[in-house]
Amino acid sequence: MGARIILKNINLMKTLLALLLLIGCLRQNEMKDISIEYIKESYSTNEALQVTLTNKTNESLFYYIGLECFINDEWREVVNDINNPKSKSSIISKLQVDEKKDVSFLIEKVLQDFIPNFDTYRLKINYGITVDAINKQNYSHPFKIKK
């Protein structure tokens, strides 16, 4: 009788644990409205950087992609929009619900001559549910660019 109760409790705890893990996963997905996949660890400047973006929310998102580099122990933005690197303006793209979109750009075209030889970079996705409310950010894994 006692052993049966203990076994029942263990099964209950397993179920609870599984539920917690599920909630955790769901919350993690909630935190990343747009996932950024297939970032390599390093690139050379004449290479194309290709990533896949996925809209994980249940509404369409508007976005543009910037570039940050790691300088003096902090992340600093160096390019406002990789599709418009020397400009103060950003070209807005749309990502439908559950849509996966491949994004590709030539690194040398983004860095041009004016970006110094920093070591570590990351992509910065700026997004929002309307064009006039692009106020959220998500970041890629850091990567190296070898000049």
């Binding site: 508007f62 543009y64 580099c69 300088i71 992340w75 600093r76 933005e77 160096v78 406002n80 020397k86 400009s87 103060k88 303006s89 950003s90 070209i91 807005i92 004016f114 970006i115 110094p116 920093f118 910065k124 700026n126 064009v131 006039d132 692009i134 950010q137």
Partner: protein, 354 residues
């Protein structure tokens, strides 16, 4: 003093100094006091500049490009490519000269670039200007007797600024219009300071100019990356209630425009591409160059983005534009002076807010 009359009773000059010697030092804006009210430390035999000993400290060794070139730090102001000469032989090391040893010091067109032939510095050790104590590298400039009279009669409008030492004219000369009254702004690298017409600091705002990696004063001649060049600019304060900067219907880029302008939140071009303008922020004001070497660069603005970088404009934090619009209600323009304390001055004011 040759330059101005001094009243010993009030211990002040009777006329204002033509030069603001040290904008980053509050006493520098009181143009009637003698030697920043610190006569024990400074002296002012000309009436134009407070002076002290001259120290040339070699900071980077031989800068290359010739055995006589060296980089020096002079009172915390970096001077590049100074070749010290003693007779005809070049040498290196640290040098200190007293005022008694040094008579004249020329400084030409700051920030000409490390290897530019447009910059020059010469220090003469004796009255007849024959023995040079120090000479900036300049392959085209030769000792010209016609220049000498300018030493004894400084001309504020002469871009080949000279000084009798003390504070080398990386402080460039502020023209009479600025000093004749009215508020003015001074950008010193990481701050945009607002002064009233009496030279008192009214407010200060964090400010940034240039791209990361180029946010140092000496890169001001680098197009699209360096900070705004030192000089004087005028800001047209005209403002219509709903004045909005225009965007190109084909490219979506914000077009150039004078005065204070709001930035549209978004714009869709004729081919359906939508743009927003986070690199501008929500408001901007054009900077019209008045004096200074622009190095062929143009189209500078003050704007209130928070990117922590620009391609030469000045990104200003805080509620700077609120004050600017208020001031514009009673004034047509305001002068902005870009003056870096040294060529190593950082131009990043911590304005990045992701």
């Amino acid at each position: 003093m040759n330059g101005r009359l001094y009243d010993p009773l009030t211990a002040q000059f009777l006329s204002a100094d033509k030069f603001i010697q040290a904008p980053y030092y509050t006493q520098g804006f009181n143009r009637y006091v003698y030697c920043y009210n610190n006569p024990l430390k400074y002296k002012d035999p000309t009436g134009w500049y407070a002076i002290n000993d001259i120290s040339l400290v070699e900071v980077n060794g031989n800068g290359g490009g010739g055995s006589s070139k060296h980089d020096f730090d002079l009172y915390g102001k970096a001077i590049y490519d100074i070749g010290l000469t003693s007779g005809s032989s070049s040498s290196s090391g640290n040098y200190t000269f007293s005022w008694d040893d040094v008579w004249y010091l020329y400084y030409f067109t700051p920030f000409g670039g490390e290897w530019s032939t447009t910059s020059g510095l010469r220090v003469f050790k004796n009255e007849n200007q024959q023995n040079r104590a120090a000479e900036a590298y300049n392959s085209t400039w030769q000792l010209d007797p016609s220049i000498i009279p300018q030493v004894t009669s400084p001309d504020a409008s002469d871009s080949r600024l000279l000084a009798y030492e003390g504070l080398l004219p990386l402080d460039y000369v502020v023209d009479d219009e600025v000093q004749s009254g009215g508020d003015y702004l001074v950008y010193t690298g990481d701050k945009l300071n607002w002064y009233n017409g009496s030279g008192n600091l009214v407010d200060g705002y964090n400010a940034t100019s240039g791209l990361p990696g180029y946010q140092v004063a000496r890169y001001q001649n680098v197009p699209d990356a360096g900070p705004i060049p030192a000089g004087t600019y005028s800001v047209n304060l005209s403002l219509s209630p709903n004045r909005m900067a225009a965007a190109s219907s084909s490219t979506g880029e914000i077009l150039s425009g004078d005065g204070i302008q709001r930035i549209p939140s978004s714009f869709t071009t004729s081919n359906g591409t939508t743009y927003i303008y986070p690199g501008w922020g929500t408001i901007r004001a054009r900077l019209n160059p008045v004096s200074g070497n622009m190095y062929g660069r143009y189209s500078f603005y003050l704007h209130n983005s928070h990117k922590g970088f620009s391609h030469g404009c000045i990104e200003v934090g805080g509620n700077f534009f609120g004050g600017l619009i208020n001031y514009g209600q009673s004034h047509g323009s305001i002068r902005l002076i870009v003056r870096y304390p040294s060529m190593n001055t950082s131009t990043y004011g911590g304005t990045y807010y992701p």
